[in-house]
Amino acid sequence: MVIGLIAGYVTITGVDLFTNAVLNGQPIAPLQRLVLLLDPSYVDATALTADQRTTILVRLILYAVAFTLLIRMLADSLGVVYWETWIAQAINQHLRVKMIENAEHLSLRYQSHARTGDAIYRVFQDSRMISNIIATIILDPLEQGAGMLGAFVIIWFFSPVLGTIFTLAFIPIFLAVMWWTPRIQRLSWLSRQSNSDVTSRIQEVAASIRVLKANQAEDLAVARFDRDSRAALDYAYYLRLEIMLLLITMSTIAGATLIGADYLMANWTVLEDPTFLGGVFAFILTFTIWNFGAFQAARENNGELIGKYGFMFTTWVRAIDMAMGLNRAYYLLDLKPDVVEAEGAVPMPTPVAEVRYEGVSFAYDAGVPVLADVNLTARAGRTTAIVGATGAGKSTLMSLLLRLYDPDAGSIRVNGVPLDRFTIDSIRTNIAIALQQNVLFAATVADNIGYAATGVTREQVQHAAEVVCADGFIAEMANGYDTELGERGGKLSTGQRQRLSIARAVVRDTPILILDEPTASLDAETEQQVLANLADWGRERVLFVITHRLSTIRNADQIAFLNDGRITEVGTHDELMARANGDYRRFVAQETQGTAV
């Protein structure tokens, strides 16, 4: 407020001196004379001489240059803009990291339903939004508000009539904004939503371009993209149309107010009417009556004030748009992970001697049980094969061990201690898993193998590659272990990717190792070798293998047969084969004979 007034006074004095004194040759006010270091004749004369006017001009320019350089350039640009950016970024950075952490720790239950494109969209768009909102809604209006108050005071200084007019102009502008707010809100939401759809569409095509080709669906994909894209563009168009209508309404009201004010002021100037408080401030400004300088100064001040109105309301419109974005951001921030760490959780103990499932039940969606009353014990140095039909719950059983989900009933115990007593990080640090989906990251072969381990040496990476029989093909690649791989593993065959996935689990050197369909894409010879190596490597470890392949199953120390979420049989291959009507025996018969029973 005070700053606004001072800045306003400095500007007005400049206008006063330049118009009334320099251009029109009128004497100056006493305070102006002191500041410009001039003799009293400048105040007392009825008209200034040409030399006197030139002197004022030169001093005025010197002051103006100094003032601009010092205040405007230094404070405004260099300092403020840079630090404002920095502050906004710091907030943004914090939020962005927070959001991605939250997203990554969220239960997969949420993730499996959300479209990735949408999630990415949210993290980016909206984290920026929050920092911007702080600048837009709080910092800028504060700054502008101070200027607005200053401009208002100055208007009243000139004329209460003008003050009233500008106060009243506020009302129709305000009403227009209120009328358009809900319309803009709705379109902003739709526009964001449809943009997110286009983003997803683009990513999806990149991911599944092979399928599109194989099915000759290229044209279909183009058509769908076109449809989504047009919808998004239309929403964007109508959103902007509404905003435009509001802006034009506002600027027309503002323009009409200014033109009306100009007419009134011109009239007062022609009639040489006194200004409202000009006489009181005669010692600092020569605006006792409406003259050239007063007209020009008041005119600039009116423009300034209307500009601030416009800024305030435009900010409001942008804030509406941002608030729509924020809604979406908070949605992600507010989701609570399903799996929470218990208070006073301790690290999982090593070595692990035993993993025990006790009456474990679990359902992703209430009413559709995936696991029911599962009991199973796995010991170090032994391989447990988990066998069963597709959808029997094999992968879920392992996800529970990793605490990706928590069981609905029963518990899983490691060395006799329930899993939820341990910190989540320590659990996942001590369990390595080779997944069914062979995800490779955009990094080198060595980095992919060492992805989940910390501080592994090249020797350890190589050793892991040897265990999974990947050393051979890696050596043949262009840059060996330093060959770059893409998001989805580019040129490697499925079998090769699978082996890298296993190597990634092996290199972590954890007491528990889970292999989820590890060898599905390996040929028999490679598979035998990998399994033999793994058995050898895993002497001290608890090893779980989820598999359909008989050759893998037979070598396991114990086989758990999972049928419809229940473990129906546990034993070695020979034991289970000895059961005349056993599930496992029937499974093996189907596998080997390849005929339906």
């Binding site: 950016t85 990291v97 990554e104 371009i209 100009d262 942008r318 039909a389 989906q437 390849g594």
Partner: protein
């Protein structure tokens, strides 16, 4: 266009530090930039009408510039200072003289009344100032791109501004979306070999976000400079017509701002460009890091990589912000120089005019007329220099799009032929060598007939998939011929060829659609009965029925709501629903349990009665059901025969393979 557009590793330092997969090649020579701009302008032909409208509006927008300086002058001199019009003073431009004659002799407030009416008219038609709609863009390429595509603005407001803004938005949208769709169409026609190159495959879709830069490349080099120059000429004309005798130096100094501004901004542009590019590279790297960790979320969680991923994103994000602040600092520097130049010009005008006013040569009103005119001319110089800075990043983006547009694509059908396979596929001395020299297949001779269930068997890397890829033309043989009913498939157009072949991939790729949508993708004409039959055959009916919305259940990203086995069965059903003469399944049973597998293989056997079914498999239970087994090793066919036939040969490669599998020879 050279390969330089797709990164060469040694190119830049930012490239080594960030694995941004999209080309951010900093080197664009001026010549290349002009060539790219020239090519971009060709796309304007698609939006002729809107473009013409935009040109017309830009011309109309110049009119207030012809009036404003002189009404301003009259307001000060004749109204506020109550001076009569005096012909001995500085003249008005000839076109404005009629107005002066009209107002001559009127009382100040009478003049003011007319001026007010004129201002009010201008307010309705032209409004006050310009119109621009700035909504907050996101930081990621996708949202920025969506913002750009709907960008629009107008130098006017009021009625004309409103119309121009809408025209401008539509023009940008049409132009950019047309370009983007064209690109999309080309990308979907990239050959499989190109897609398999992951450096390209991964970055393909990001290029889509570069397309909206086209309008800006088109206009920054055409309309913007053109109208800057026209505006300058008009200002010069007005100055020349009025002040050339009293203050000719004003015209020369204003004109001198032109080369001075160019001299300052052009060398600076190289510097600004480098900074901006580094910042954009860092931004892209952040996007990549986030996208990668989001799309591999399951793996990241299972492997305990959450903190690592969060750190990765954090460090990249931090770096990109740091660089962005450099851009801000540079912007402040550039703004400072521009401001200093503008300030110097206005001080000069101020001193010159004020001196003239004091000397009685000019009136105070002349000051307001002149300061505006000089500003227009000086600003134009700075603006033209800045065009070059601003347009650089957009040229780089458009270049990436052109790179993909120029890539060799599969030729879409010019004339579809109705093809119906009657006999089968044959391979004649077929060989396949990858561009990197790897020899995937050599000397393959094989004949496959309708009615057969054939299994391609062999160790990992034997060339099974490569061989199968030759049939729908995903790969082209580098030696020999592949024939369909005796015709070389190289002579058959791709669409006709692929309409005869269904291919089910190893990866289970499903789209974000309903299950029905995914199946219909393969055959839009499929009836409900066709879909049910395919689901039955693939043993998918049971689990689909258990889903809450059945066939209408919408799948998440890559079908994440389903288990791997379920996805596999849906992919098989999708292959079956196409009902083509040739069906190829790559590892269809890997994730299936024996029961499901048996049901599937039986269904395939039935299908094979009128079709050629090719199965690439490792599982013995699948293989042994085949009519013929093609055993491959190291890119060559070793043996062809039936399971029993080849098992009977004591030292056959196939037999050794089966024995290693360990499931055979009566373990039961």
């Amino acid at each position: 266009m050279s390969d330089a557009a797709l990164d060469t590793p040694s190119e830049s330092r930012s490239r080594e530090r960030f694995d941004d997969r999209v080309d951010i090649n900093p080197k664009i020579t001026n010549r290349e930039a002009f060539r790219i701009v020239g090519r971009s302008l060709g796309y304007l032909a698609r939006v002729k009408g809107l473009f013409a409208a935009k040109v017309a509006f830009s011309l109309i927008a110049l009119i207030p510039g012809l009036i404003a300086p002189w009404t301003g002058k009259i307001l000060i001199d004749q109204v506020i200072l109550k001076k009569p019009f005096n012909d001995a003073e500085v003249p008005f431009p000839p076109y404005f003289q009629p107005v002066v004659d009209f107002l001559r002799g009127m009382a100040p407030m009478e003049i003011m009344l007319y001026l007010t009416a004129l201002f009010a008219g201008l307010l309705v038609v032209y409004g006050r100032g310009g119109l621009g709609i700035s909504l907050e863009p996101g930081r990621d390429s996708a949202t920025i791109s969506e913002g750009k595509i709907s960008a629009g603005g107008s130098g006017m407001s009021g009625l004309l501004g409103a119309i121009e803004l809408l025209v401008d938005i539509r023009l940008n949208q049409r132009l950019a979306n047309g370009f983007r769709t064209l690109l999309f169409r080309r990308l979907s026609r990239l050959p499989m070999k190109t897609i398999d190159d992951h450096r390209i495959g991964d970055s393909v879709y990001r290029v889509m976000y570069d397309a909206p830069d086209l309008p800006s490349v088109c206009f920054s080099f055409t309309l913007a400079p053109l109208f800057t120059v026209i505006g300058t000429l008009i200002a010069l004309y007005q100055m020349g017509a009025t002040y050339s005798t009293v203050a000719p130096e004003l015209i020369w100094v204003s004109l001198a701002m032109f080369p001075i501004a160019l001299l300052v901004t052009i060398p600076l542009s190289a510097f600004v460009r480098r900074i901006q590019q580094a910042s954009r590279a860092a931004g892209t790297a952040t996007t990549n890091a986030i996208e990668e960790s989001m799309s591999n979320l399951h793996a990241v969680q299972s492997l305990g990589g959450m903190d690592r991923e969060a750190q990765r994103v954090e460090s990249r994000s931090r770096e990109s912000f740091r660089r962005f602040r450099h851009v801000v600092l540079t912007g402040i520097g550039v703004g400072f120089i521009g401001g200093a130049l503008g300030g110097a010009l206005s001080i000069f005008v101020m001193v010159t005019v004020a001196t003239s006013v004091i000397g009685g040569i000019m009136t105070p009103g002349d000051y307001y007329a002149l300061i505006g005119l000089a500003g227009t001319i000086g600003g134009a110089g700075v603006g033209l220099g800045m065009v070059w800075i601003g347009v650089q990043s957009e040229v780089a983006a458009v270049r990436r799009v052109f790179f993909f547009l120029d890539m060799e694509v599969e030729t879409p059908a010019t004339a579809h032929e109705r093809l119906a396979v009657r006999e089968g596929v044959s391979f004649e001395n077929v060989g396949l060598t990858y561009p990197n020299g790897h020899r995937a297949l050599a000397n393959v001779n094989l004949s496959l007939n309708l009615g057969e269930l054939v299994a391609f068997v062999g160790p990992t890397g034997a060339g099974k998939t490569s061989l199968a890829y030759l049939i729908p033309g995903f790969y082209r043989p580098t030696e020999g011929r592949v024939r369909l009913d005796g015709r070389d498939i190289a002579e058959i157009d791709l669409d006709s060829l692929r309409s005869q072949v269904s291919y089910v991939f190893q990866e289970h790729l499903l789209l974000n659609e309903s299950i029905r949508g995914n199946l219909k993708l393969a055959n839009p004409a499929a009836t409900e009965a066709d879909i049910r039959r395919a689901c039955d055959a693939a043993s998918a009916t049971e689990f689909i029925e258990r889903l809450p919305d059945g066939l209408d259940t919408r799948l998440g990203q890559s079908g994440d709501t389903l288990s791997v086995g379920q996805k596999q069965r849906l992919c098989i059903a999708r292959g079956l629903v196409r009902d083509t003469r040739i069906l190829i399944l790559d590892e269809p049973t890997a994730a299936l349990d024996p029961q499901t597998e048996n049901a599937l293989v039986n269904a395939l056997r039935q299908a094979a009665e009128g079709q050629l079914v090719i199965v690439i498999a490792h599982r013995l239970s699948t293989i042994r059901q085949a009519d013929r087994i093609v055993f491959l090793e190291e890119g060559a066919i070793r043996e062809v025969g039936t399971h029993d036939g080849m098992m009977a040969i004591p030292d056959s490669a196939y037999r050794r393979f089966v024995e290693l599998q360990g499931g055979d020879v009566g373990t039961v």
